[in-house]
Symmetry: C2
Subunit: 397 residues, 2 copies
């Protein structure tokens, strides 16, 4: 162990970036070594991925180089894949090396949860990274090109989105906006294209106000989305999906947005998990390890009513701020702060110019909600990168 | 048979459009019924297809609605596929109907010639229509997206262009121009990408001046093209190509440009053909059928040295003009005109800002030749659509 403590942060998503930035600000010179480990040299805006996935916005509006967000004189950046977390050794094994830590912040992203539905991990695509959304975007456009080369394959014009939570609804809205453009580009009759949204739960956007849910479904139906709500996907095959109703939807494109679970590395580290997530204490620490903090997709916390908070960007960012404070307090031997989630509201985009939002006890829809969505995006860019990042990545449409 | 003769033109490519436009101009009111049959409602610029195929220009710069080129008050336009030419009945069977004719102009496009190489028609793509180039463009970009989803598949970054004639060279040049942009867009190291041009003949661009050929190869090598000249493709497989040398190139993308043959419908009509092409008389008429004219890809004519003219846009257009004159002469009982090819020169594009050309006994290369190429394109647009078409479709980069 070196004379100054080593802090290792795994993952540069919402939680990891906020932790790193706050540590960079709080720590005095030579007070600690901070290393941020990330698979890519860029940070991406997970809540924006549905747009490049559908092809309605560019990849470059969806990511930023990490070196633009942190000061590399103060924080070491290691681009590598994490292979293993060795709690007993206080080491992290990377694809190309090993890091030892005194304090560890696990801010790794979650993984798609397929709920054991056969074929889903083989044949469905998921919206979870820059690479995955590039694949989805190109796959969709390729179906149009393939269809024009063999017009008997009308199933190539069927698109199935599994899951009607946040990601599912926001993606299906963008896809519905994109279809007319693809039809024009490829001389395809829009009536031949089918966009299905299949959800096993009895409603879309669970947790949202029913009036807003109705509004959202109405907007999406008008854009051409066909809902199958309260219908589970029984199996995903190379030819499409089989539904619990016995119906088969033939499709070469299934996008699964049905949920996420914790990262398998966390389970493999030996923590007790529920769907891959670890119940952390009030200070965001893993049970039994006072020097290990878990935030974001892999942390499990309960609201005052005893229900788990869903893993969102908003909670990950707030956890990042508290986590950084608590790591500094631990180093300084000061008292740590309990994490309290402060709900700033929720906005779900419904494609161009449309959204629904609940914030400050009020409901918003349509144009106003769409402006709120932009505000949330811009505020985030400002938080992590100031005005230069807002100007570079912000969409002012 | 109606009281006025019926003229049917099959195909609205270079030859067919020129024939239709000249007939429209020459024929008096009620002198004949003219019907133009085409599979699509647009005419496309075959000599420009290599650009949208590589993704370096748009589809909309490569086609024009036929209704913008002909006067539908004077010529009937039928959008359909030709199924059969019944010479004995003077009928043409379409996918959705039958047309009878007094004069027939066969201006259908040719088909890719695979020279019996196994697997080529199954696994290789060809540059021959708007739909086929959209497929090629999307297929190429999809390989980059797939590679980023599974970086072990480096073969997805190998691209094989079979054939180093006009189409092969012009396409491989555009592809080489496009690769750096795709690499940037997908965060791929350009050194991982391989573009191969494989040609069985001992030289690229046969018929071109050797000095210009050397220049062309030099330009393309600098753009990263790897040549395998004098090497035949023995087989095309789902995994790539096997060469006559025993070498295998792993690739998910094989584009075959090795030659074209006549349309199978022409052979099926009962004409004697050589590689699907019919040796026409000096007046462009099919042997034994004074009322059937064959122009473009399906006609076989010999130059004064006894060698067959290659099927080019230039000869098809000139044939279209003579064909229209001769049909009018036939109707009016006047003497027909012999077709004489007038070589206006040849330009091969080598990608952005580069080309080689032979014209008026002179050789041109580099920037000057690239300007000549643009001039040829613009002159064609002007010929068929006047200044409005030049302004709408011309590329003035």
């Amino acid at each position: 162990m070196s004379t100054i403590p080593k802090i290792v942060i795994l993952g540069a998503g919402y939680g990891g970036i906020l932790t790193a930035q706050r540590l960079q600000k709080e720590l005095n010179y030579n007070e600690a070594d901070v290393t941020l480990v990330n698979r890519h040299d860029y940070h991406y805006f997970t809540t924006h991925l549905h747009m490049p996935a559908a092809g309605t916005d560019s990849i470059e509006h969806t990511r930023v180089s990490i070196s633009k967000l942190i000061d590399e004189f103060k924080i070491d950046l290691v681009k590598s894949n994490v292979q293993e977390i060795r709690l007993s050794d206080k080491k992290v094994v990377l694809q190309d090396g090993t890091l030892s830590y005194d304090y560890l912040v696990i801010a790794l992203g979650g993984e798609p949860e397929s709920f054991g539905i056969p074929g889903l991990s083989e044949y469905a695509m998921t919206i979870r990274s820059i690479n995955s959304v590039r694949l989805i975007r190109q796959h969709i456009e390729y179906q149009f090109a393939l269809f024009k080369a063999d017009e008997s394959r009308t199933d190539r014009l069927n698109f199935v989105v599994g899951g009607a939570g946040f990601s599912g609804i926001e993606f299906v809205a963008e896809l519905a906006d994109r279809i007319p453009k693809l039809c024009k580009e490829y001389d395809v009759d829009p009536n031949m294209v089918n966009v299905y949204n299949v959800e096993a739960a009895p409603t879309v956007l669970p947790g949202f106000d029913p009036e807003l849910v109705d509004y959202a479904m109405d907007v999406l139906r008008k854009k051409g989305v066909q809902f199958k709500i309260g219908v589970a996907i029984k199996e995903c095959t190379p030819d499409g999906v089989l539904l619990a109703t016995g119906e088969e939807i033939k499709s070469a494109t299934v996008i699964w947005t049905g949920g996420i679970r914790g990262n398998r590395l966390v389970e493999a580290a030996g923590f007790e998990t529920a769907r891959g997530r670890v119940k952390v204490d009030d200070y965001l620490r893993a049970p039994g390890y006072d020097n290990v903090f878990i935030i974001g997709d892999n942390s499990l916390m309960f609201n005052p009513e005893g229900r788990p908070y869903p893993p969102t960007a908003q909670i990950a960012m707030q956890q990042g701020v508290t986590c950084a404070q608590n790591v500094v307090s631990a180093i300084r031997g000061k008292e740590m702060k309990k994490f309290v989630f402060s709900n700033k509201g929720t906005v779900a985009s419904l494609g161009k110019g449309e959204a629904i939002a609940s914030a400050f006890g009020k409901k918003y829809k349509g144009w106003v909600a769409a402006q709120l969505k932009k505000l949330v995006d811009i505020r985030y860019l400002f938080t992590i990168g100031g005005i230069p990042l807002v100007l570079k990545k912000g969409r002012f449409l």
